[in-house]
């Protein structure tokens, strides 16, 4: 980005405009940055950024005869800080909602860029509608015509699209303003929406039927007939419009009225209405005839902590609303969506890991993966504990005993002693003994040594790994129970990473769990032996638990292909309290070896199995 023009001090006029805009929203903000000529470099005459700040180019307005409306421009930008998106995290959440809606409408559009555009439109709609209401309320005395309100005048000057534009979404956006601001039709946009863009037909060339071997010709003919039929229906689908600008503009206006104060929830509805327009534009030149609007410029990628908060928001996890145009009867009779496959509907509505990674690629893959697995695991996390070693507690009075010289003087039971009449130490002196009560059952934290296989035969965390999910649930559950954990990720020889000692830092633990080498499989028996050699057998007080997440390649743990260390697994098992293998091993190839050396086995196949596997582990660890 080229350098912006220098900031100049506020002129008295600009200061009074700023004060008036602040008074409109009844907030206080730091002074705006005034940068004459910034619109040329930045592309928009004003913008906002976080932490809350506002930048305006007054020259852009003055050149267009809008100098008097500077305060409305200020009011618009302040509105972004007060109403929509209001905070950086909400801005990211709105983007996320839009990305979900776009993903459900089309698989081909880059969700990130489209989402940013839709978020800008949605935020501006909310802010401008509210500013118009506030400006109308601010007027005292004679009622003012709608088109004389500052924000409406600004809109009339800046929003109308150039003549002949083909951008149908922009038409819907302008028409929605006409409805919201109560302007006559044709003020901000032409009376009729631009026509739908034409789709180019893809022509496939086929090998002449004569060149197909005789014996296949009949089958080939049937296949070609089926292909032609499929192409015909696909073309028909492309021709059947999902967009109806005049109706959609009214639906957008409804959405703005309904969600005037909840931008994040309303974003899903707006996205569902607007996303089909992006879908029908795909293939056209990028941003054809699209006027510049974006005044949100915050391009810093989401941090790991922000990702966690975004993915955890229930509003972003709920199903997308149905397109309001599809909901006709309140009793839902004859709903076309009722007949669609439920599974397919769900799949399109939650962002998969791949889509999430694409959307937040600037945040870094590790951070996204960690946030994603943590969030998926969250529903299954519960404290994992074990019974504490029983600590006897006294308190029950026992039989009377002789108090001897040398016993603590405080133990002497004087009433009993004096009952005999004389006090002869060691002969008539008595004391009351104490018996142990039933030990109180208490739970205490666990310490878990977790080994996770990250060889090439395991599923990459990017593609939804059951092992990583199970490991995350397990690790977070141990932490919830107050325990500590040590994670070791292994692949081929010498490819071992993770934590040198037990710890409680979730970020470090999850980073270690989702680490992926993607090479051969060789369990680090040398490290395993070094960690546990020479230790006394585990007792009640000092328990040792080992869990290994792997697949059928874990035969290497029992010395297969690593003969010098054969027997390490068995030796180590003798000093452990529990040793459990969580395996993605359809053919149960490791079962025999594991049983020989005393390891328990839990099987895991899909992501959906992970919670059950973890429940089994919780039982095993509890003892």
């Amino acid at each position: 980005m080229t350098a912006l023009p220098d900031r100049v001090p506020l002129t008295p006029d600009a200061r009074s405009a700023w004060e008036r805009a602040l008074a409109l929203w009844r907030v206080r903000l730091d002074d705006p940055a005034v940068r004459p000529g910034a619109a040329a470099t930045h592309g928009a005459p004003a913008w906002f950024s976080f932490p809350p700040s506002v930048t305006v180019d007054p020259r852009y307005l003055a050149d267009r005869g809008l100098a008097d409306d500077l305060w409305s421009m200020f009011a618009h930008e302040i509105g972004h800080h007060v109403l929509a998106p209001s905070t950086r995290i909400d801005a990211l959440k709105i983007d996320h909602q839009m990305a979900r809606a776009i993903t459900a409408a089309t698989a081909r559009v880059n969700a990130g860029d489209g989402a940013r555009r839709l978020s800008n439109l949605w935020n501006d709609l909310l802010v401008n509608t509210r500013v118009a209401q506030l400006q109308r309320a601010e007027q005292t005395g004679a009622p003012i015509a709608t088109r004389d309100l500052g924000i409406v005048r600004l809109g009339l000057a800046l929003y109308p699209a150039p003549a002949g534009t083909a951008d149908r979404l922009w038409w819907v956006y302008c028409r929605a303003y006409e409805l919201l601001w109560q302007l006559p039709a044709g003020t901000l946009c032409p009376l009729e929406a631009p026509p739908r863009p034409e789709r180019a037909r893809v022509q496939t060339t086929l090998v002449p039927l004569g060149q197909i071997p005789e014996k296949h010709r009949e089958k080939e003919r049937a296949l070609r007939a089926a292909q032609a039929e499929r192409e015909r229906v696909a073309a028909e689908l492309a021709g059947a419009t999902a967009t109806n600008p005049a109706v959609d503009a009214a639906l957008v206006a409804d959405a703005v009225r309904s969600f005037a104060t909840d931008p994040v929830s309303g974003a899903a509805l707006f996205g569902v209405i607007a996303a089909p327009y992006l879908a029908e534009q795909e293939g056209l030149a990028e941003g054809a005839g699209e006027p510049v609007v974006g005044c949100g410029i915050d391009d810093a990628p989401a941090t790991a902590e922000e990702l966690g908060r975004i993915l955890a928001d229930q509003r972003l996890r709920a199903d997308l609303p149905r397109h309001p145009g599809m909901v006709r009867d309140p009793d839902g009779q004859g709903d076309p969506a009722d007949t669609t496959d439920d599974g397919a509907k769900k799949d399109g509505q939650r962002l998969t890991i791949a889509r999430t990674l694409e959307l937040y690629r600037e945040s870094g893959e590790d951070a996204v993966l960690a946030a994603w697995y943590r969030n998926e695991a969250a529903a299954w996390v519960r404290p994992y504990t074990r019974p504490a070693p029983s600590t006897p507690t006294g308190g029950i009075p026992g039989p009377v005993e002789l108090w001897e010289v040398g016993d603590a003087l405080a133990d002497l039971d004087w009433p009993l002693t004096l009952r005999s009449g004389t006090v002869i130490p060691g002969v008539t002196t008595r004391r009351r003994s104490e018996l142990d009560d039933e030990p109180i059952v208490r739970e205490t934290s666990l310490e878990l040594d977790l080994y996770i296989d990250s060889s090439g035969s395991m599923v990459h965390p990017r593609n939804g790994s059951p092992a990583v999910l199970a490991g995350t649930i397990l690790a977070l559950s141990i932490l919830r129970g107050g325990g500590r954990i040590r994670v070791t990720s292994f692949s081929g020889t010498g490819e071992v990473a993770g934590m040198p000692r037990f710890g409680r830092d979730p970020a470090e633990i999850i980073a270690a769990i989702s680490l992926f080498f993607g090479r051969s499989t060789s369990f680090p028996l040398d490290l395993y032996a070094a960690r546990y050699s020479g230790l006394p057998p585990a007792g009640e007080d000092d328990q040792r638990h080992v869990v290994v997440l792997s697949d059928d390649g874990l035969v290497s743990m029992f010395g297969v292909g690593n003969e010098p260390y054969q027997g390490v697994a068995r030796t180590v098992r003798e000093v452990l309290t529990t040793g459990t293998l969580v395996l993605m091993d359809r053919r149960h190839q490791v079962a025999q070896l594991a049983e020989r050396d005393g390891y328990d086995v839990v099987y895991l196949q899909t992501m959906a199995d992970a919670p059950a596997a973890c429940a089994a582990l919780a039982e095993a660890l509890h003892g």
Partner: protein
């Protein structure tokens, strides 16, 4: 309940054309003042036991066409709210200019036969947009454009909030979506058939 189409037909017979209404309209009370009156309609006016004929006789001193359809509760309530607007000028204070200087009976029929069949009168008090629609319709047929608007603007804004046009557009959009969903299902079926027709050249 009377058929919606029959009510609308009765209205088109009664109204005598919308363009004539716009032509004769002159500046009237503000939209907000009429809308505010609508939301203040007293329960007594909406009471099912009140005879619409008697109410119209009391308020207007004459009869209204919609009284012939008073077995339909939508018509009854719509007309009652219209009569309340006229009566409120005596009970609260006259609007400026007074509604009674216009075609009050025609305006009451407009509410009862044109708006009530497509937007239930219960919504006029709960939904801002439906209230605006009722107020704009009432003003137009009473012979007014809302204060501060010209006839073209007022016509466009009434068209934008017209429930009848909106219902038709939504029905059309709904058909579009349903048609699309049908084709999408056909496409799934065609894809399945194509997959089944694939063969191995071995």
């Amino acid at each position: 309940m009377a058929d919606t189409e029959a009510l609308l037909a009765a209205w088109s017979e009664r109204s005598g054309g919308e363009s004539e209404a716009w032509a004769r309209a002159r500046p009237g009370p503000s939209l907000e003042s009429v809308a505010a009156r609508i939301s203040r309609v007293p329960q007594e006016f909406l009471d099912e036991r009140i005879s619409l004929r008697a109410l119209a006789g009391d308020v207007l001193g004459g009869q209204i066409v919609s009284a012939g359809f008073d077995h339909d509760s939508r018509v009854r309530q719509g007309a009652a709210i219209g009569l309340w607007l006229v009566a409120s000028e005596g009970l609260i204070e006259p609007l400026d200019p007074a509604l009674s200087t216009g075609w009050a009976a025609l305006a009451v029929d407009a509410l009862a036969l044109r708006v009530a069949p497509v937007a239930a009168p219960a919504q006029w008090t709960s939904d801002d947009e439906r209230r605006t629609e009722a107020a704009r319709t009432f003003l137009l047929w009473c012979g007014f454009v809302p204060a501060g608007e010209d006839a073209a603007t007022a016509a466009s804004l009434l068209a934008a909030c017209d429930s009848l046009a909106r219902d038709r557009a939504l029905a059309e959009a709904y058909e579009g979506h349903r048609h699309r969903a049908d084709i999408a299902r056909t496409l799934e079926e065609a894809r399945r058939k194509e997959a089944a027709a694939r063969y191995s050249s071995e």
